[in-house]
Symmetry: C2
Subunit: 168 residues, 2 copies
């Protein structure tokens, strides 16, 4: 079936390139936190949706905890995470500190992860089965999705958000 020019070569995606892709998106999110007015960061909502700080806490609950599962094969289960929520930060400075700690931890755990691990099948947080790289795609996609929501919050406040395409 199908054409004969197709073969089964995989895409040459290195773990390093995937990490850079993720951290590039995380840099955009960090700039969103920086530009968000501090008095709105923890409270501003449209349509009953969560404030941006809560979305950021969700990203933080997936990123480094997820990478611990990737690196070690041992996953915190979501229920466990829910019962041991980290301290809720109450300032932008504190939220940025948590963000930067998470950045460092993701990088550290990534360096500990053998390249082959990203292609293994596992069950993220004990629940979602698939290839490990697919979990990372999901965490990135989820961050883009909710960050897009925060772009509307900012625009509705009359504030220019950082450029989506700039991952520097």
């Amino acid at each position: 079936m199908g054409t004969s020019i197709k073969n089964q070569a995989n895409i040459l995606l290195s773990p390093e390139a995937l990490l850079e892709h993720w951290q590039g998106h995380r840099r955009v999110t960090r700039r969103m936190i920086e530009v968000f007015p501090e008095d709105k960061l923890f409270s501003y909502s449209i349509g009953g949706m969560r404030p941006f700080s809560e979305l950021v806490m969700e990203f933080l609950g997936m990123g480094a905890p997820g990478m611990r599962g990737v690196a070690t094969g041992k996953w915190d289960i979501p229920e466990h995470l829910a019962h041991h929520k980290p301290e809720r930060p109450s300032s932008k400075k504190e939220l940025l500190r948590l963000w930067d700690d998470s950045t460092d931890e993701i990088n550290r755990l990534w360096r500990q992860t053998p390249s082959e691990r990203f292609s293994e099948t596992d069950r993220a947080f004990g629940q979602w089965e698939g290839p490990v790289y697919g979990f990372i795609f999901y965490w990135i996609d989820n961050e883009i999705h909710h960050r897009g929501q925060a772009y509307v919050y900012l625009r509705s406040l009359g504030i220019e958000p950082p450029a989506f395409y700039d991952r520097s």
Copy 2:
């Protein structure tokens, strides 16, 4: 430098898996179009941002036109695209028809693309240099980003959006 357990194995990401990832996201976007009230689809805005129909037209201008560049190595330049904009649809039915045509064309062009092509370096639309798979990541990410914006539009209209995690 670094640990010795790290090696250079690439991630086992097949072209088929990347296409499925993209089309899964495109199915979510299609459900967003379906659930969006027709009278708001072409006009509703928050913070001066574009109506959802305009965002969808942007996705359509990247998806199949981008895949033509991927499949053939020949790119329409964005200026050219801007001067030859497709007819602006004025109904949800028409927008969904354009969406479905694009879905078919992406699948058709993907089948014509040799697997190795996704790992080549090229210049998307004559402008942005990088690996071909990176262009596809960008088109997916851009769709997630702006679709996240439309989730806020829907919520502010009191409408429950389709689940982000359901890619069926």
